[in-house]
Amino acid sequence: MGALLEVENLTTEFVTRGGVVRAVDGVSWDVREGETVALVGESGCGKSVSALSVMRLIAAPAGRIVGGRVRFKGRDLLALSDEEMRRIRGREIAMIFQEPMTSLNPVLSIARQLTEGLEIHLGTTAAEARRRAAELLATVGIPDSERRLRQYPHQFSGGMRQRMMIAMALACNPSLILADEPTTALDVTIQAQILELMKALSRRLGVAMLIITHNLGVVARYADRVNVMYAGRIVERGTARELYAHPRHPYTLGLLRSVPRLDEPRRARLDPIEGQPPDLTRLPAGCAFATRCAFRVERCARERPGLVAVGGGGHVSACWEAERLDRALAMR
């Protein structure tokens, strides 16, 4: 399948009181048609800013996309006029946010929020849009849709609001959905429902997804390919199976090791990643992870490693010691 979205050398900066922060630093990744790709990392790693940059939702003047290209179906989104970009947002690329309550309009009825996009983007008549809105609620598993359409977001539970967000995202039959921590605010049993729903819908409707999350379990259940981000860069990428079975970056390995797992015997002690993520206004010259890394060598402080192939299926890692890491893992 061909690439639907290709992000090349994307760089996004923010002006802060502490200086200029390069939140996304020359990052490249892609999403193919019908595929689910994950951007994984901890707070401040640039995963959300990456998605907002694709949607051109970076708030000026503090934030600015300073370089790179975002090719969607062959067109560079960064070169489009605001008007052209508006026609893509919500229609061809939709977005789902973590906290549905803050992204839904509290004073508009559920019906209005679902029909607005249809009427604006597709020129659907009011009656037809209403019919489609009811259909969308049914698609995302909200029963009793006629009554629900007359309600307002505060009358919905957290799980239903997230279903509603998914319905809004699906309204114009987009080919790509960017989902930013879609289940983080939800309880585990509701998270399971929403994940099953998203998985079923992406399969049935063939819509591609970019899922942004810090939850390695969610990624494992869900993504075909995974990009791991740290301090504004991608440090490892691979198919989900390859990356979890053979992590080739010490940060990925550290993340996988630091979480307790229900499928493994309980360990006497957890293996945390020591230290703190770096201050983005004062990034070191070399590898940003070096100070926390158990595998660091002298070179890591001086030279920044680029992504190089480390395995099949496009598995790449940005680590000078990727091979030693693999040998160390094989010996365990």
Binding site: R221, P260, P272
Partner: protein, 326 residues
């Protein structure tokens, strides 16, 4: 490790909230936040209290800490019924029960330095009346939680989330407590930092003989840290057992569904695993279902579950479940 009388005993705890509603603010209903909950925690033990939002786990913790007045039931701490204590005695007891909150940012005063935050309880409760010794004690406490002496001069906003949680822990430790209620202490932290804080809590427990009530929704974290685990649903404990028994052999269908819902960071395993996806959502505690409160979502419910309120029964030695089919 476990000897004699429990440090804390909760007996038939009930906490109702009255909700006024409607245009005229009349009494609309009763939220049964905690509905007949009993458990004990022994010295040096960690009891995990898990459940989804609104299940009553936080309210249970708050009742124990006397931040909420129980509607009914008894809380015995070091064999004394807290409801019978006078204000002075209660003050002394409360010192021995501390709390660590989920969001260290909103529980630390932004206008106080870390040093002042930790010093305050030492002065107020006259734990260390001498100011010079107090300063030394603050330095010692910072060391216990893995912070550096210079952190004492910083303000909360100058610290990372993990460091702020360490300050919250130091403040609790300052009181020399016997029991610490940890209310979602790591859920606001990044995964790489969560493990640091969990290890720290375990080290402190060993060093100071602390007893923890660990309230959380993350079942993997609770399994790691707890000796015994209680699962709550809609104000009630539905299962209570040793860690190993609860995770290896869950008896309540809700516990089984919860465990199955946790995604495991292994794509191959996830592809093979069968998931019990519960339908519906947690009902409102304003109008709890009849009989077993879990029956509308239960995959194995039978007719009788609609009528009979299941008692928490000891099904195997030390393994309790509130299900008539268990």
């Amino acid at each position: 490790m476990i000897d004699g009388r429990p440090l804390l005993e909760v007996r038939n705890l009930v906490k109702h909230f009255y909700v006024s509603g409607g245009l005229f603010g009349g009494r609309e209903g009763v939220v049964r936040a905690v509905d007949d909950v009993s458990f004990a925690i022994h010295r040096g033990e960690t009891l995990g209290l898990v459940g989804e939002s609104g299940c009553g786990k936080t309210t249970t913790g708050r009742c124990i800490l006397q931040l909420e007045r129980p509607t009914r039931g008894q809380i015995l701490f070091e064999d004394r019924d807290l409801a019978t204590l006078g204000p002075e005695e209660l003050r002394a007891v409360r010192r021995r029960m501390q709390v660590i909150f989920q969001d260290p940012y909103s529980s630390l005063n932004p206008r106080m330095t870390v040093g002042q935050i930790i010093t305050e309880p030492l002065a107020v409760h006259r734990i260390v009346p001498d100011p010079v010794k107090r300063e030394a004690r603050v330095q010692e406490l910072l060391g216990h939680v893995g912070l550096l002496p210079q952190h004492a001069r910083r303000y909360p906003h100058q610290l990372s989330g993990g460091q702020r949680q360490r300050v919250g822990i130091a403040r609790a430790l300052a009181m020399e407590p016997a029991l610490i209620v940890c209310d979602e202490p790591v859920s606001a932290l990044d995964v790489s930092i969560q493990a640091q804080i969990i290890n720290l809590l375990e080290d402190l427990q060993r060093e100071f003989g602390l007893t923890y009530l660990f309230v959380a929704h993350d079942l993997s974290v609770v399994r790691h840290i707890s000796d015994r685990v209680a699962v709550m649903y809609l104000g009630r404990i539905v299962e209570l057992a040793d860690r190993k028994a609860l995770y290896d052999d869950p008896l309540h269908p809700y516990t089984r569904a919860l465990l199955s819902a946790v995604p495991i960071p292994d794509p191959e395993l996830e592809a093979r695993r069968e998931h019990i996806v519960l339908g519906g959502e947690v009902p409102s505690p304003l109008h709890p279902p009849s009989g077993c409160v879990f029956h509308p979502r239960c995959p194995i419910a039978i007719d009788r579950c609609r009528a009979v309120v299941p008692e928490l029964r000891e099904i195997k030695p030390g393994h309790w479940a509130a299900c008539i089919l268990a």
